[in-house]
């Protein structure tokens, strides 16, 4: 197995080597065939200058928009076609007739209708994705094993139950396959579309290189397209693995002993990754995404800066988690009985000072990224960064650990809400604005609710060990009320921002999460046992993620619409 993997690498490497030699020895004309080494240098220069990333970002934005606009209706119609013969009879001939037309041939027509702007490019993508996905989804619904429908009916399933509990989940793998097909298709198409009448995007980058006769740049652009394709495919595979856990479990896991050597490093990385509590990263990702998308909506967006902000914030978050683990251990609040999701020292059998070192490494690397951002975006980021590092560290460390004096929620509200949102916004656009503070409030409320859900669960235990949280100070009834206030505050503050016209109305799609919010408040009002409250913690975190994702999506849609119209 392993030997074959090396052989797989050997032939392309040999080819590249031969090419390099041929040019260096003067057998090939350097102008037409720049050597691989030169192409790599060009690629690197264009990447680090942010140019190439900018064009990749633009293409990616178009692909995403085309996908949202074309793919979502296609999935809906495809499932309907699969289960309803009437819809199928109506839609199939048309879809099947249009499907084989090379979509790039539609571009001139679309340009005539929509003009040369962003809209025609996105529309061309949307149309091609639509027809590809609709037919594939319909086919995969038709292939669902009819026995599944039988079983469902024997348990009393009605027509709509059959749709939601059988047709949809059973055809999800097929839907994913067609999304992946569509993604490859979109990537091919975007390059072609951008050859014509675009001023940015990866296709334009390549075309421009051709016009300048810069073959090395052209090849660098091609590598960039390959990288994008690879990244998108990997992302979709990962998404599929998470959304369809029953699919991947089909193949039994290879026993540990079969792999062993060489993966030791990977194992270590994976272990530390787990100990850094990756599930908590959304608490960092969502405010960064929100700040960035609001900045984009206000007219400034750089993918490169966004990626750096995200990486820096996640590192600070991971570092804070490590410190939290360490100091909770030192102060003896975590014990074997604690239900907490932390406690890597107890549960993972990791030497305590390793955790401390891991936290410091995260902080140092995060701070380096921060310093780079300061050099780009100005000293404002420095102040935000310094405060964030201090809060992160003193959250559980030191004599006045915020988490132990009942200020945990306040600190988390400010720093995992408004502070990050404003920071991410500032990085992009280099100005402060009051509206952004208001926009960030719902996220602050929700992230505080996560921490509070944790404290609600641990209320009795914290009291015993004398840990002062807002919950132990307020008592059970007060603490419950605090939870309701945080949850209701989330929705109320968003409503206010929308009514004031600061946020686009479409961000109200977050109301989809209200049923979950209600359910959580009901459980909190009824339960006091840690075991019964454990799901509240997990689901509050989930609520934060879902609400945040919908909020960011709302802004994204608003932004895309703004670009199109």
């Amino acid at each position: 197995m392993n030997r074959n993997r090396w052989l797989n690498l050997l032939s392309p490497l040999l080819l590249l080597l031969l090419w390099e030699l041929a040019v260096q020895l003067g057998w090939l004309n350097r102008i037409f065939f720049p050597p691989p080494s030169e192409v790599l240098v060009t690629l690197w220069n264009n990447l680090t200058s942010g140019q190439l990333l900018y064009h990749m970002g633009m293409s990616l934005m178009r692909i995403m928009a085309g996908f949202l606009i074309g793919g979502i209706p296609a999935i809906a119609l495809g499932v309907l076609m699969g289960i309803s013969p009437t819809v199928r009879a109506l839609a199939h001939p048309l879809a099947a007739a249009i499907y084989p037309i090379p979509k790039i041939a539609l571009l001139p027509l679309v340009i005539v209708v929509l003009g040369l702007g962003e809209a025609s490019k996105i529309a061309t993508l949307a149309i091609s994705v639509f027809f590809l996905v609709v037919l594939n989804v319909a086919a995969s619904v038709l292939q669902v094993d009819p026995r599944h429908f039988e079983v469902a009916r024997s348990f009393g399933a009605q027509q709509r139950d059959l749709f939601w509990t059988v047709a949809l989940p059973a055809s999800l793998p097929g839907i994913f396959t067609s999304i992946k097909l569509g993604m490859g298709f979109a990537l091919t198409l975007i390059v072609g579309v951008e050859f014509v009448g675009a001023n940015e995007g990866i296709g334009w980058f390549i075309w421009r290189a051709y016009e300048l006769y810069a073959i090395d740049r052209m090849l660098a652009g091609l590598i960039a397209v390959a990288l994008m394709g690879w990244a998108l495919t990997t992302l979709l595979d990962e998404l599929e693995r998470r959304m369809l856990p029953w699919q991947t479990t089909r193949t039994p896991r290879t026993p540990r002993t079969a792999q062993k050597k060489g993966t030791h490093l990977m194992e270590t990385i994976r272990k530390w990754y787990r100990l850094s509590r990756p599930w908590s990263y959304t608490a960092a990702i969502i405010p960064v995404a929100l700040g960035t998308i609001v900045a984009a909506y206000h007219g400034a967006f750089s993918l490169w800066l966004f990626a750096l902000t995200l990486a820096g914030t996640i590192l600070l978050q991971a570092g804070t988690n490590f410190f939290n683990d360490y100091y909770d251990y030192v102060k003896g609040t975590d014990n074997n009985e604690s239900l907490g999701t932390g406690g890597g020292i107890f549960q993972g059998g990791v030497p305590p000072h390793h955790t401390l070192i891991a936290g410091m490494i995260c902080f140092v690397v995060g701070s380096l990224i921060g310093l780079y951002l300061v050099s780009v975006a100005g000293t404002m980021i420095l102040w935000i960064g310094i405060v964030a590092v201090l809060v992160g560290f003193f959250y559980t460390a030191g004599p006045f650990a915020l988490a132990y004096v009942g200020l945990g929620e306040v600190a988390v509200f400010i720093f995992m809400g408004p502070m990050i949102v404003i920071g991410a916004y500032y990085v992009q656009i280099q100005q402060l604005s009051l509206p952004v503070l208001l926009i960030s409030l719902p996220i602050g409320f929700l992230v505080a609710a996560i921490l509070h859900a944790n404290n609600l669960r641990d209320l009795d235990n914290d009291r015993k060990v004398g840990k002062r949280t807002l919950a132990t100070v307020l008592g059970r009834t007060g603490a419950n009320i605090e939870y309701y206030v945080l949850i209701i505050g989330t929705y109320l503050s968003l409503l206010v921002v929308v009514v004031l016209g600061i946020a686009p109305w479409i961000t109200l799609i977050t109301v989809l999460t209200i049923p979950t919010a209600f359910r959580l408040m009901r459980i909190v009002s009824a339960e006091t046992e840690p075991h019964a409250l454990q799901p509240v913690l997990r689901q509050t975190a989930k609520l934060h993620m879902q609400f945040g994702t919908l909020l960011v999506m709302g802004w994204l849609i608003a932004w895309v619409l703004e670009q199109v119209i």
């Binding site: 599944h148 039988e150 079983v151 024997s154 348990f155 989940p169 059973a170 029953w246 039994p252």
Partner: protein, 264 residues
Amino acid sequence: MATITAEHLTMTYAGRTAQDPITALDGISLQVAEGELVSLVGPSGCGKTTLLRILAGLEQPTSGHYQIRQRDPDRPPVAMVFQQAGLFPWLTVTQNITYGLRLRGLAAAEQAALAQRWLAAMSLERFAHSYPAQLSGGMQQRVGLARAFAYNGEVLLMDEPFGALDAQTRLLLQQTLLETVAQTRQTLVLVTHSIEEALTLSDRVLIMSARPGRLIGEIGVPFARPRDAITLRAEPAFSALVAEIWGSLRAEIEQARQAELHAA
């Protein structure tokens, strides 16, 4: 009082040509009393599955009628166990077990409690959150049983539930089924191709003819309950009954084979 009453059930499928319809069932009449355990045996293709599907309400008979008398209107009339377990691969074991309960709108806490109870009864606790593909055939079939028991239909319909399992697993599951039905006192209609299984599990064995399926005989099973699936086989009366049922079936099986050869 009979729980299931069927009169002159006939089922005709359109065949390959319009002139050549397939009569799967031909005038089946039967009665099953409340709490009775009845087995159906017969050559393959004689319409056993068709009969169960009609009783489960999955199909309408061409003619004749049947009735399942419900004593408790809050309970569903029937729960079905399918040949290959028929689990939903996208649901975990627990979610599969509570599928029918969810459709009936039971409160989440009640669903969880029932799932807990039947996971324990079928020794599946450790696999509560596994997906069907991660389980062996025997475990999958236990999930199918747990799902039907949790659903708590007044009548349990089982279509060759253990047909695909190895002999040991099969014996163990038969024992489990015997013990569980003794507790729940449900009425059971079991289709099987194993005469031994029919004798082990039921009070009465109904014998069907080759297609078109008709009832050609029935045998009362004299063994007292509770029974033990393993020791039962050692009794001389057991093998005598096996031989007797074989006698009635042999001609039918021969006929079914001839018909198959003829068709091919």
